[in-house]
């Protein structure tokens, strides 16, 4: 797991975190929460606002110990907006543009069906 991350779900049901909460972060940091709908894990990443969305995505994959697959989806939990399309944006700009104010994302891999 990356040094700036925290894994919840699993046996940790409190989700309190051992670090300061999102609202208490220094101005240059934000907390990104990502639910993994394939495993049930939830990670919380502390990221600088100068980090790009792409680098946060890379950190997510490292945390989940996965490689990106074509059918993977990463969406803002609040509005369903695709996150991958903003890979080149710095986090600060992503927030300034109002894309996902609570920075809570959902990750899920592909699914075959009928």
């Amino acid at each position: 797991m990356a040094p700036n991350s925290e894994l919840t779900g699993a046996a940790d049901a409190t989700h309190d975190g051992t670090t300061v909460g999102a609202n208490a972060k220094p101005d240059h940091e934000r907390q990104v929460t990502i639910d993994n709908k394939d495993s049930g894990d939830t990670i919380k990443l502390r990221q600088s606002v100068s980090d790009t969305i792409g680098s946060i995505i890379d950190a997510m994959y490292a945390d989940f110990r996965q490689t990106r697959e074509q059918e993977d989806r990463l969406q803002c939990r609040g509005n369903g907006e695709d996150v991958f399309q903003f890979s080149a944006l710095p986090l600060a700009q992503y927030l300034d543009q109002g894309h996902c104010p609570d920075l809570h994302w959902s990750f899920v891999g592909g699914t075959g069906g009928a």
Partner: protein, 182 residues
């Protein structure tokens, strides 16, 4: 269309892995957010109460029985079941029959369908929750793309539950089969 049924896995190993994954699922943020309620039947089986997120939906809830006979080389065996005292002459937690109140109706999505009475190999007919995160999908002739397949170590039974939950949360969910076909 059917496919050969794989051999069941070692039940002790399956029970250990399944038990760990059930505990993790039950403690997860997703379980809290979706209000899943877990009832362990035995080391290889759990029933999970699920319900649509939309409060304007019909208020129905359902029970999904997950089994670890092939877990986690394959996804859990999966069926919507009727609770004890609601199964008539059937055993408790039996698969919900066609037109049952305990069977949701979901208009077919590209990645998910519920077949009330699928014709299985050998002539038997039964329910099929048709999605690559259920075991039955792999013995009914489906051929998922590589990025759609169940992957041991990447997926847990949460993947099965989140697909069912997403199907219930969409506008394609039409309510209980029992309400639509009284």
């Amino acid at each position: 269309m059917t496919s050969p049924t794989p051999a069941p896995v070692d039940p002790e190993i399956a029970a250990a892995v399944f038990g760990d994954h059930v505990a993790r699922a039950e403690a997860s943020d997703l379980a809290r957010d979706h209000r899943w309620v877990f009832t362990r039947l035995d080391p290889l089986h759990v029933v999970v109460r699920v319900q649509p997120a939309d409060p304007t939906a019909d208020g129905s809830h359902y029970f999904v029985k997950l089994g670890a006979e092939y877990y986690d080389q394959y996804p859990p065996t999966t069926a919507f079941v009727c609770p004890p005292q609601e199964c008539g002459d059937r055993a408790p937690w039996s698969p919900a029959p066609p037109k049952s109140r305990w069977l949701p109706v979901v208009e077919a999505l590209q990645w998910f369908a519920i077949h009330e009475a699928y014709q299985y190999n050998g002539g038997g007919s039964g329910q099929l929750v048709c999605c690559s995160m259920t075991f039955e999908y792999y013995i009914t002739g489906h051929a998922p793309a590589s990025g759609q397949r169940w992957q041991q170590g990447r997926h847990t039974l949460v993947a099965t539950l989140t697909r069912i939950q997403e199907a219930l949360d969409r506008a394609t969910y039409k309510g209980s089969a029992g309400a639509l076909h009284p």
